[in-house]
């Protein structure tokens, strides 16, 4: 069965510093990978997605992620963090094998930004 691991539960960075959030997945076929962000009291907003092609994908709000098949990873990066980036970030893998295209989420990484 597919699974997603986000090893960092909490991360604190200073505003302006670079950011990398880790995500490892387990999936038998070519994965569809996503990063979502959840601000307090809000729903999940898609940051970026990977399906095929270029392994470096660009998303909204200046985020990017790199798919590395050899490491089963899909880490999220941002070169300079803004205070408004404080939120919870979820990595997810899509699975249509069951006919429903369900998303399997990781446990999330809570990002705190220090001013």
């Amino acid at each position: 069965a597919q699974s997603v691991t986000q090893p960092d539960i909490h991360i604190t960075v200073s505003e302006g510093a670079s950011l990398e959030l880790r995500c490892n997945y387990s999936y038998g076929a070519t994965p569809y990978l996503f990063w979502y962000v959840q601000s307090p009291g809000q729903g999940l907003q898609l940051l970026l997605k990977y399906f095929s092609g270029d392994t470096l994908v660009q998303g909204i709000k200046g985020f990017e992620a790199e798919f590395k098949r050899s490491q089963s990873s899909f880490n999220l990066r941002k070169p300079s963090v803004h205070w408004s980036d404080a939120a919870e970030y979820f990595c997810a893998v899509g699975d249509e094998a069951g006919g429903g295209n369900k998303l399997t989420f990781g446990t999330g990484t809570q990002l705190k930004v220090e001013l």
Binding site: F34, G43, F90, G98, G99, G100, K102, L103
Partner: protein, 114 residues
């Protein structure tokens, strides 16, 4: 920009009562989903729905749960007899297709079972 809406934002119910959570997916989307997030835990898939039938469901989605698209715009999740452990945030999502199409999530309904 079109968005998924959910009502109510917060529902409090007593154990054993029935609840219906409502969602209005994005109008031209064909696939609909429910997920839940127990406080402090990860988001979990419950069910997906296409062409007026369930296309996939998780082991969480037992006989106490049902989904329905009663008209052309609403998508509902019913819990027949709520348990304390059903307390969670419930997210509705929709997508225009499978594979490369991302799922758009609503803001969620917080269900509290007392």
């Amino acid at each position: 920009e079109p968005e998924v809406t959910q009502t109510p934002s917060h529902q409090v119910t007593q154990m054993g009562q029935e609840v219906i959570l409502r969602c209005v997916p994005i109008s031209n989307h064909l696939y609909f989903y429910w997920y839940r997030q127990i406080l402090g835990q990860k988001v979990e898939f419950l069910v997906s729905f296409y062409n007026n039938e369930i296309s996939e469901k998780s082991e969480i989605f037992d006989d106490q749960f049902s989904v329905e698209r009663p008209d052309g715009s609403n998508f509902t999740l019913k819990i027949r007899s709520t348990k304390l452990e059903d307390s969670a945030m419930y997210f509705c999502a929709s997508s225009p297709g499978l594979r490369s199409y991302e799922q758009y999530f609503g803001p969620g309904t917080r269900l509290t079972v007392t």
